[in-house]
């Protein structure tokens, strides 16, 4: 089943209708999510209105981890099984994940100043998420600097896998060490500690981010595949005109 969609042309054709569908879902979910987050949800008993930053921050942080896991998984699949689309998917995921990570860092900082009393603290959670951001940048830098595509994919895959060690550190940092950042409220043993009236905006925003990721991923993958096809055609054209194989 996997190999059936391995053909880039076939994939591009099949992926195309999903882009407007996911895009439309993303717009609807963002509208609902932001409406609930900003207008139709209660203020917190301690944080007051500042709690609304959480609806942007928490799902962004989930996506930061999810995108990295997807990127590392796809990179590994590309490295081991040489699936032609795996590296394309991994490469396309990196900048999207980096943006979600930056969003989580910035909104966290905006929340931290009024609530904790500081923009930043070098506690285990904040530091490990900053490292996650740098891992994304390193991964992107490899693709940008290594010219030969197969070599870039191999190096990037190894970096992605080594960096994956950071994922459990990010997730469990708040449980393993004393940290300024609070522990998990939703995905935790013993059930969520967030009141049900505050869950709809959180989940609408999470699905909004998810569909946005889906739409951007497909756009980016199709663009990459088109660019590769163009490069191939140009090489072929040069060969035809000059009659020699370029190095």
């Amino acid at each position: 089943m996997v190999t059936e969609y391995a053909n880039p042309e076939k994939f591009s054709r099949l992926a195309r209708p999903f882009i407007p569908a996911l895009g439309a879902m993303s717009v609807l979910l963002f509208t609902a999510g932001l409406y609930y987050a900003l207008f139709n949800s209660p203020a917190d008993y301690q944080q007051g209105e500042t709690v609304r930053i959480m609806y942007v921050h928490v799902p962004a942080a989930w996506m930061a981890l999810f995108c990295y896991a997807a990127m590392a998984g796809a990179s590994a699949a590309g490295f081991i099984w040489k699936h032609p689309l795996a590296d394309v998917a991994a490469k396309a995921t990196a900048p999207i994940g980096a943006v979600f990570t930056a969003l989580a860092l910035v909104t966290g900082s905006l929340w931290g100043k009024p609530m904790w009393g500081t923009w930043w603290a070098w506690d285990a959670r904040l530091t490990s998420v900053l490292i996650l951001f740098f891992l994304y940048l390193g991964y992107i830098a490899i693709w940008e600097t290594v010219e030969e595509r197969a070599r870039a994919a191999r190096l990037a895959a190894i970096v992605a896998i080594v960096g994956a060690v950071n994922l459990p550190v990010v997730k469990f940092s708040v449980d393993w060490w004393n940290s300024l950042h609070q522990p998990a409220s939703v995905f935790r043993a013993g059930g969520p500690t967030i009141h049900e009236s505050m869950r709809p905006p959180l989940f609408f925003m999470a699905f909004a981010y998810m569909t946005t990721y889906g739409a951007l991923l497909l756009v980016s993958m199709r663009a990459e595949l088109a660019a590769r096809r163009l490069a191939r055609l140009e090489t072929l054209a040069t060969e035809k005109i000059s009659g020699v194989r370029p190095e």
């Binding site: 917190d44 500081t118 603290a121 009141h195």
Partner: protein, 150 residues
């Protein structure tokens, strides 16, 4: 081994080495990765740490005393086992109050923390004010409970 299996083994090996390395480093770093000491941590230490340290815990109920016309504050940070008094001069975060988690930074002088920074620690409980009030009315409210558990 096929080439596929070799690549799988290589990648698994790289991951295992990286994971092992990180685990060793984090274990070796131990307490220094923690953002703060709790009062119990401090009481367990043979010698009180010199230099800047962070102390985290709950502000003991009834311990907050303002001094110097409100410019300075004295309070006690507690956990389940120990208590450490704190003196601080400067602005307090909005969430600072009795029963609330705090992280303070400063120097230990004769068992008292001369703090240069006080941060409020938020817990993982989120609820509307009405729900908090209702819980209090029904007597199901844990005053220091929802908050920070040392």
């Amino acid at each position: 081994m096929t080439r596929k299996q070799k690549r799988l083994a290589l990648l698994a090996g790289v991951f295992a080495v990286a994971a092992g390395g990180v685990a060793l480093v984090l274990t070796a770093l131990g307490q220094s990765v923690a953002y703060f000491y709790t009062p119990a941590d401090l009481s367990r230490l043979a010698a009180p740490p010199s230099g800047l340290i962070r102390l985290g815990g709950l502000v003991e109920a009834g311990s907050v005393e303002y001094a110097e016309g409100g410019a300075a504050v004295r309070f006690v940070v507690i956990d389940e086992f120990a208590r450490t008094p704190v003196f601080y001069r400067g602005p307090l975060p909005d969430l600072f109050r009795e029963g609330q988690g705090v992280v303070t930074q400063g120097r230990l002088v004769d068992g008292r923390l001369e703090a240069s920074e006080v941060l409020a620690k938020h817990d993982e409980t989120y609820m509307p004010k009405e729900v908090a009030d209702a819980l209090k009315e029904q007597g199901r409210w844990k005053e220091e409970g929802g908050a920070y558990k040392p």
